[in-house]
């Protein structure tokens, strides 16, 4: 426990760098201790979440009602968590718990009691965050081993020195032991998987998978299974495996990349100057993909035209927003299902699932899936799997189509309406609302509030290269709202006059991290520093049980050319032919992770909740995604 304390050492004054926060509540700040040796290992791209003060921690433990004893938690905290080191907080930690979050915590603690009861009945073996933290930590440590080997070593050393009472020795094993254990687990898992998904390696350091591996539990307990516990009896192992989204491929693994390439429909030339830190993500030459895919239009026989069209649109960047991408994909699948007919001697459930899989892999080649799309695919596959074998083909197809319609309607359209209704209550006359980028929900909220006659002003913050905020601005101005438009460079100048920040999200992860358009974290942090409440508007179908601590291990890279050029300025051509220069690498990250501490509230279709309650929603309603 105290390892963490000792290593949180940033002088509070250091946190004022960049902008001055008028009145930081000094009481909740922990005492600065010393300078961490690992401070330098921080990557500039990563926004590490500040550590919680102990009161926050306990409240979090309530929000995440896992039968996690503080003891266990503290032991996990002792572990070297690689680059995610406690000492790295940039901004003030002062976790000002908003009254609302406290309140909701109260609600949920009740809930957690229920949960514990249920878990006592023995239905659940694994759960998420704390169960497998040791593993997460271990793999994390391995991943960033090059960077933090020394640091990790010292930290472990310190941890070993600490008299940590009744803790089993599990976590104290040496690094070599842990690695050996991990290797063996991986081998066992690969064996268990059989040939099902040989091309995919387990994402190291991704907590979803890791968390599902309890050391003493069965090896292939998926987190989906955890969320399915409500359904009573567990589906057989195979079904569950199907439900699990395949772990992302690690693109620095040459063999697998080669294999995937051979199967690929879209021509994927690897970018020459790949960013070293992001080698595990796909980095392709963007220029050649679209024309190449276009020429293959008629050669892709098994691909349904609707799916193909959506893929083209992803690749060309015609559809950007995550809701829209999800809807477009689902509608394409709907078309494909309508035109589907089961080949002789095959069953619909199996053959259609295989078809959908091939569509999905095509879409992934066009652009990596968003988390929301992953959830939607999971939903669709679960439905296909659950179709009774006796059902006639036409009925099965009709039922799937109506299921898709219902998903779109309930999880996106109606959810948006509910979110709008909730969010509007947070807008008062005289407010100055700030939003970043363009989120369809936020747009609806603002327009609805305007229709209600509320008197407020909007600040649209935008950033290159997509400048999607301009579309939002156009629609807002068209409707007569008074707006201010600025770029993200000026966010700290505009922030003092802002009273609320509304942000959209691509996903909310179960540790409360908001995964969203790159720049969101920056806006949220600045808002937090100025004590402006940050409200995230996100439909619950985008929630994911994954835990992500940084924006490196899972992210998406955009076209580097997009940031090397300035639209409308032909004279700025310094970066022309940049790809030929070996010592230049352009990084166009698309997403970032905002730690939950900067978020005051998440507005979702289940109400307004603090970020700590996200896992509850994932747990309580996650299975419902699959069952509606």
């Amino acid at each position: 426990m105290d390892q963490r304390r000792t290593s949180r050492l940033i002088d509070p004054k250091v946190r004022h760098v960049g902008f001055f926060t008028p009145a930081a509540p000094p009481d909740s700040l922990p005492p600065p201790v010393s300078v961490s040796p690992s401070g330098n290992s921080l990557s500039p791209v990563m926004i590490p979440p500040p550590r919680h003060a102990s009161d926050n921690l306990s409240s979090r433990a309530v929000g995440v009602p896992v039968p996690a004893s503080t003891q266990r938690r503290s032991s996990t905290d002792n572990l070297p968590v690689g680059s995610y080191n406690p000492s790295e907080s940039l901004l003030g930690t002062s976790p000002v718990l908003s009254p609302s979050s406290n309140l909701v915590n109260g609600e949920f603690s009740e809930d957690s009691a229920n949960w514990i009861r249920r878990s006592n009945s023995g239905k659940l073996a694994s759960s998420f965050p704390s169960g497998g933290f040791d593993l997460t930590a271990a793999s994390e440590a391995k991943k960033v081993q090059g960077v933090s080997e020394k640091v990790g070593g010292t930290v472990v050393g310190v941890a070993n020195d600490l008299p940590s009472s009744s803790k089993p020795l599990k976590e104290k094993t040496t690094k070599a032991n842990r690695r050996a254990l991990q290797e063996s687990q991986r081998a066992a898992k690969a064996a268990a998987k059989g040939g099902a998904a040989p091309a995919h390696e387990q994402q190291v350091g991704k907590a979803v998978k890791a968390a599902s591996h309890k050391k003493d539990g069965p090896l292939v307990t998926s987190s989906v299974a955890a969320s399915e516990k409500k359904g009573g009896d567990r589906p057989p192992e195979k079904d569950r495996k199907k439900d699990v989204p395949l772990p992302r491929m690690q693109f620095d693994d040459k063999g697998r990349v080669e294999k995937a390439k051979r199967r690929a429909v879209v021509k994927q030339t690897e970018a020459r100057n790949r960013v070293e830190l992001f080698r595990h993500l796909p980095q392709y030459e963007h220029g050649t993909q679209l024309p190449d895919l276009e020429t293959k239009f008629f050669q892709l026989d098994p691909m349904h035209p609707a799916v193909y069209k959506v893929g083209l649109q992803y690749l060309a960047g015609d559809i950007l927003e995550s809701n829209a991408r999800c809807i477009a994909m689902l509608q394409a699948f709907q078309e494909a299902i309508k035109d589907y007919s089961t080949p002789p001697e095959k069953t619909l459930t199996r053959d259609l699932a295989a078809k959908i899989n091939s569509f999905v892999s095509f879409l992934i080649e066009c652009r990596p899936l968003s988390i929301s799309m992953g959830n939607a695919i999971r939903f669709l596959k679960a439905h296909i799997a659950k179709l009774p074998v006796t059902l006639a083909e036409s009925e099965a197809k009709a039922s799937l189509c109506s299921d898709i319609d219902r998903f779109i309607n309930e999880k996106i359209v109606v959810a948006d309406k509910v979110i709008v209704r909730h969010a509007v209550t947070k807008i008062r006359d005289g407010d100055v609302l700030l939003t970043y980028g363009s989120s369809s929900v936020v747009e609806m909220i603002l327009l609805h509030a305007h229709e209600l006659g509320k008197n407020f002003r909007v600040v649209v913050v935008d950033s290159r290269p997509n400048l999607e905020g301009q579309a939002l601005l156009r629609s807002l101005v068209g409707k007569g709202l008074s707006c201010t438009y600025t770029h993200i460079n000026a966010v700290s100048y505009i922030m003092p006059e802002v009273t609320r920040v509304f942000l959209g999200a691509a996903s909310v992860l179960s540790n409360g991290t908001v995964y969203s358009r790159v720049g969101t974290a920056c806006v949220a942090m600045v808002a937090h520093a100025f004590h402006v409440p940050v409200l995230i508007c996100c439909e619950a179908y985008k929630f994911h049980e994954r835990v992500q601590l940084d924006s490196i291990c899972s992210n998406e890279l955009g076209d580097p050319d997009a940031i090397s050029k300035v639209s409308g300025r032909v004279d700025i051509n310094y970066l022309d032919n940049w790809a030929n220069k070996e010592n230049l690498q352009l990084l166009n990250l698309l997403y970032d992770a905002t730690p939950s501490d900067y978020i005051s509230m998440i507005i979702t279709d289940y109400g307004m909740v603090p970020p700590t309650s996200v896992p509850v929603i994932v747990r309580e309603y996650g299975s419902e995604h699959l069952l509606i």
Binding site: P291, L293, E294, T295, K296, F297, F298, Q299, L300, D301, M303, P305, Y308, K309, L312, Q313, A316, G317, D318, I319, L320, E321, N323, A324, R325, I327, A328, Q331, D405, I408, N409, I412, V413, V414, D416, S438, S440, E443, A471, R474, S475, G478, K479
Partner: protein, 465 residues
């Protein structure tokens, strides 16, 4: 992929007299000793498009084309040959086969196209934008080589016949204006409304309409039904669609209209939302912006449709055989710079001499030449950049430069042929000198005659046409 392909093979084009005749319709004109239609069919076959409708003008021509296709492409392609009366325009041809068209989108290809641009690219661009029409544009080929020596005035006339004035939006994806050759002579009239909606238009004259279109079937049929006077796709239908793109009179995409109807019946305005969400999120083209009105709040969205353009990259070869000049050029290119199209493998000397061809002593066949099966050449001949067909008998001391000699041609001793086209079964007697001439099929050129820029054909042939 829900595409149907219509190949408009034409009939006996008047522009190509005397090369074409009753026996040899335009589609069967040899390009590097292969009918020009085979280039299109093979291009389509490469793209896995094997169900084709070939429309031919005239019953006789249809029979010939059909016979050739069934001979050459039996069990490779599934081709339906439809005959339409002679002299009808391309739009009429499509009207005639309208009932065969069932797919969502239709790819209309001209039978005289020689190119290596994959039609899939056009189709993909079409689908991506949900366009009503997508037209393939390619850069205008350099017409006539310097040593073909055709007169300046003629050349110019041909050039203006080929080039179009084409207006594109800044992203080069949408067609904003298209004017064919005839209109170019006058002032260019642009529509203010389109210009206002787009903000910026790029006008180019270096692009050629390759006559490869993807049409939305319902839209195309609506236009064909409504506008009965429309004769030609290129001159009437396409400009009309481009002109009316911001005030569409089409009941666009029957399917979409149906959808809207259904939604209203279901009285769920919820269902409209996903499409709205989609529309909001996708980067709007000017069409959508215009449809919503300037302030984004037009009471009723204006009806628009999209006309797209696919611009083939400069590295691709693309030409249409629609004039005698083009015939010469294409023959030269297919054996020369675009040799990958010909499907033959070239020898080390960069020419193709059929093994059964017989060459006399001191006869040279230069690079970029082709000598067909069973042809015989006497002594001291020289062939440069020319295509010679099958079973020709060429005497001694003959010079053939930049010319096309079709099958079964007899050339006497001492002839000199330059920049000419000599059709099948022609007989050239001794010491004939031809420069930039076209000799119709079966013609006999008497000895020692000297022609320059003439078109020689049998009288009755011309009258019969």
């Amino acid at each position: 992929m829900d595409f149907q392909v219509v190949v408009l093979a034409g009939g006996t084009s008047k522009k190509l007299v005397p090369l074409v005749s009753k026996e040899v319709p335009k589609a069967l004109l040899p390009v590097a000793n292969r009918p020009v239609l085979s280039y299109v069919l093979e291009l389509l076959e490469q793209s896995n498009l094997k169900d084709l409708i070939v429309v031919v003008e005239g019953e006789d021509a249809a029979l010939r084309v059909g016979g050739w296709i069934s001979g050459a492409y039996v069990d490779r392609l599934h081709v339906e040959v439809a005959a339409v009366p002679e002299g009808v325009g391309t739009a009429d041809a499509l009207r005639a086969i309208a009932r065969h068209l069932t797919a969502n989108d239709i790819l209309v290809v001209s039978g005289d196209l020689v190119c290596d641009v994959p039609p899939g690219a056009v189709a993909a661009a079409h689908r991506r934008h949900d366009a009503v029409v997508t037209s393939m544009l390619c850069s205008t080929p350099v017409s006539g080589s310097s040593d073909s020596g055709s007169s300046g005035g003629k050349d110019k006339a041909k050039k203006s016949g080929r080039c179009n004035i084409i207006g594109l939006d800044p992203t080069k994806q949408f067609l904003l204006h298209i004017a064919t050759a005839a209109e170019v002579e006058k002032d260019i009239r642009l529509q203010k409304s389109i210009l206002r909606a787009v903000g910026q238009m790029e006008i180019r004259a270096d692009l050629m309409d390759a006559h490869l279109y993807a049409f939305n079937r319902s839209a195309l049929q609506a236009v064909l039904d409504q506008k009965e006077t429309f004769q030609s796709l290129k001159q009437d239908v396409l400009p009309y669609l481009v002109r009316s793109q911001l005030r569409s009179e089409l009941l666009l995409n029957g399917a979409q209209a149906e959808e809207n109807g259904n939604e209203k019946v279901a009285s769920q305005n919820n269902k409209v939302m996903p499409s709205q969400l989609l529309a909001n999120a996708s980067t709007p083209s000017f069409h959508e912006l215009y449809a919503l009105g300037a302030d984004g709040s037009a009471p009723v969205p204006r009806k628009t449709h999209k006309c797209c353009a696919y611009i083939a990259s400069k590295s691709k070869y693309c030409a249409r055989l629609n004039s005698i000049q083009a015939f010469n050029d294409i023959n030269r290119d297919v054996t020369g710079e675009a040799s990958h199209l010909s499907g033959y493998s070239f020898s080390a000397q960069n020419n193709i001499i059929h093994p059964s061809a017989v060459l006399g002593s001191k006869t040279t066949v230069g690079p970029q030449c082709m000598l067909g099966e069973g042809s015989q050449m006497g002594d001291k001949c020289s062939v440069k950049r020319s295509v010679i067909g099958r079973h020709c008998r060429i005497g001694s001391n003959v010079k053939v430069v930049n010319s096309v000699v079709m099958n079964h041609v007899t050339i006497g001793d001492g002839c000199s042929i330059q920049g000419s086209v000599i059709c099948s079964n022609v007989q050239l007697q001794e010491r004939v000198v031809l420069k930039d001439c076209q000799v119709g099929a079966g013609y006999v050129v008497t000895a020692c005659s000297e022609c320059r820029g003439e078109s020689l054909a049998r009288k009755e042939k011309i009258q019969s046409q």
